[in-house]
Symmetry: C5
Subunit: 253 residues, 5 copies
């Protein structure tokens, strides 16, 4: 599986452009430009990214495996934010076989660690993994603490290191996980993940300085890279930021 | 799949006669004429429609693929309005294979966006899509906001654009969606749907002037057409209205 | 499928002897004679009935496809009346394949229209139908309004016509449905069923005059016949009544 | 299937030694001797029994189909008495195929008549029956009234005759059912079971005289025999009682 | 199956190093050394253990069947301690086939005896067992009393002997079970398990003297050995303790 990661990394590092916000957040994150998948795919294809993350439908209608150069990473599950139970569950929307036929180099699945539906998602993760193992493509675990049991602790060292560890124990090849907020605690998250590579969630649009400080901190803590969305396509100069990120993450290691 | 849409569109536009009200609403929408599927199928077969929407049983007993000219669109799920939980779920009643063997040119599946059972319907939608992809016929998403989470916002720009976006991300070829009520907000719904074609729900019987104003507005906002039921068969002159609609929607583009 | 109905009808009419009361009601409907399936099967075999309705186990132990002349109709689901949730569900107890191997000419499945479990039963109905379509035997829908949502309206025109319509839309070949109580409203039920044949539930033992008045009314409303149990085997002269019913229903049309 | 019963009956009568109490009741029924499955199997093998009832694990580790002479009856479901919901459900623990490969001559499945989970158990019973029919071994229904709906009526004529009837209608070959307590009411239970053979639950250890009175009563009511556990292996002289029972039940008919 | 146990026992005794705490407890049990699976696997490979217990992901990324000498035991289910419902359920995360392909000599599955989800786990246990039987590797039952029904009695003789008995009746080859706390009561637990081998849970780090007293007591009560984690890798000299344990358990019998 290690080999599989070569397709979505460069020098062992990863920089992904994430674009599954329409499904997860609705259309309010977007403006007239960013609502258009083609425009975002053009940014992803700029040469600065090692992966483009989207849901199946966008891949199907916009991504052309013969034309696009950025590797495709298909999210296999997803949900809206409309129904707000105390504890979230994210259903499967795409199979491993479909993702591969769309040209995916890797697939992702969200586990809401701490949710009342955690057991269901762990089980589905394990079923998907059987397929990715057979198919020889990496399965990336979106390890997100959610639900009543972890409310207020979604960014704590304790909970995020637990999430990273679970990913190791259930067999993920890579994880996408939120940042604890400080370098020291995040080191422990990365130790907990063992041989599983750690990619950090970009999160909401923040000031550029603050954002690059975070990037530096997570890299020096041992992270393999970043999955970024709004900080690119809500920025005034997406290509400029992308280039700077690629330099920081992919080249200086 | 784009090719599949050719069979249920004309000049890229769609005009569907919908007749699944018996299942969804009971028999109160009907009179002595409209209760009879044969009479409605005769209207659908008038040459003004690019599709006739019904449940499996009506197709089985009335639609003759060798005789009827209007393309058949089979709804794959459905429910009654008798049991009123806070959040609706609509079970599968027909398989893709059955629909095809009945002569269907396309199939439809309702997703109640915002319902507590949304995850279940998204999952089933994705399973059905695997079959329609294999079979090469289009899957139309009925994207209807329902349930406690979206109560009172069933026609809002925010929620309907979310529904349209979900349809794009989960891989629908076309959607049937309610109208926001004004042209500007509906443009955003259509932008959110990206490359997915948008067909607007006709809804309750309204005055003819108001109805044709709506048709004009949604078309100029970028909609591909209309799915209409009661405004045809509850009208005094169904063929007359059908002809006028066909002119507006299918010819003047 | 129409052809399939020929085996359980005569002149397009149906008279079924129903004997699944042990499962549905317990043993209190029975006396020392009617508790014995052999005795009831003997009545069913008298030549006056176009079908004998029972559960799988009784068919297995009493019905001999080489000896018995009355066509066998096997109920595929059933439940006891012991556990009384607000909303009933009736589980599958027999498969289509088993029913056929027991000699069944048709099968029946109960849908409790209005129940909170309606979606589950509609789904199961549709699965069974796929099998009966393949096997070429008719599926009869027992369309019974039940549950909190329809409480007190189990015999209303509105609800029973809805049930009949659902049967048409989901693809039943025939329905067994309670009587509204008057001829005019029942006409609407039959119109709602379209090309689906309607058989009326005999119900509790009533006086002979009242009973035959009901028979006349439903026939003149357009019903295809009757499924009768207690009014036969709780009667003092079951063969006599059977003969009279057969004359009224099967011969005078 | 009738033929299948020949292997676990003698002169049409049955005497089973039941030993699934560890699963159902915990270890408190046992003493230093009866805790040991080997000791109980030795009693079962004494020649006085037409069947030995146990769960899969005990059969696997103690029963030797080449050495033991008593026919094996494997219980297919079971539960502990630790979790006490209002309404019990007993999960499947062994498949028909496994039971057969362990040397079983028959299998048993508990249906808690009246439980909120009754539908689930009826469905599973029917699935198992499909397998036993194919395999040609008898399925014995443990028909036990349980749950809030029948609380206090677990030994009533009404409820037990209902249980017996359900077993007939769902296709059991034989039932194991509690005793109503008097001969007259139990006759009705046996009539309700029709051609299904009725074996009575031995129940708690009682005085020998009372116990043999019960045996006489159920036999004269028409029962096929007894399934006995504690009245054998909690007795001071298990072989003596076994011999007396065998004489009463198996020989004097 | 007995033969299968030879691979994870020595002289009929077992000493397992358990390392699934990251999944079950989070990362708080660990320090900078014990967080690293490689370091723990090195201890396991010291020659003093007859098995190394871990989840699938750790086996996949650290255990090398060609290099490591300690037999691998893969836990097939697991859960976090974040979501705390009253009654726990532990989902399947690894299949028997995956475990075998990772080099497993045995597999383990947790049944929370007394939980409201007990039925679900008993069913899954039985399904897994079908696969282990076919594959010819032992299935070890983690028999842990949990949930409201047994709260406060998790170490009682009554409940633990019940758990041991259930394991026998459902067909485990070996169990891992907590200690009652005294030798006499634990003898009854072992008698209840019959021919199923009993391995005792090491539990929290305790003083060495107390720990070895416990080891002696359970062995003299008839246990086959110990599964130990924190008392090894939270100890200052893990190899020293391991050696002493191996002498006590594996050699002096």
């Amino acid at each position: 599986m290690e080999d599989g990661l070569l397709r979505i990394t460069k020098n062992g590092r990863a920089l992904f452009l994430a674009y599954d916000h329409g499904m997860e957040h609705g259309t309010e994150d977007f403006d007239d430009a960013s609502i258009d998948p083609q425009k975002i795919l053009d940014i992803a294809d700029s040469g600065y990214f090692t992966g483009f993350i989207c849901q199946k439908g966008i891949a199907e209608k916009y991504y052309d495996r013969n034309k696009n150069k950025v590797p495709l990473i298909v999210k296999l599950n997803g949900k809206t934010n409309l129904f707000k139970g105390q504890d979230p569950y994210s259903p499967r929307i795409c199979s491993v076989g479909e993702a591969i036929s769309l040209g995916a180099s890797a697939v992702g699945y969200t586990v809401y660690i701490g949710s009342a539906y955690e057991a269901k998602m762990l089980f589905e993760f394990s079923q998907i993994e059987r397929e990715t193992d057979r198919a020889g493509i990496p399965l990336i675990g979106w390890m997100y603490p959610r639900g009543k049991a972890v409310k207020g602790r979604e960014h704590s060292k304790e909970i995020l290191s637990y999430g990273a560890r679970v990913a190791l124990e259930i067999g993920a090849e890579m994880i996408k996980i939120p940042y604890t907020g400080d370098r020291e605690s995040f080191k422990w998250v990365i130790q907990s993940a063992g041989r599983v590579k750690v990619v950090v969630v970009g999160g909401e649009k923040t000031g550029e300085e603050k954002f690059f400080k975070m990037v530096e901190d997570v890299l020096s803590a041992g992270a393999a890279g970043l999955a970024v969305g709004r900080n690119i396509w809500q920025s005034g100069e997406p290509i400029g930021i992308s280039q700077k990120l690629a330099e920081k993450i992919l080249e200086s290691c």
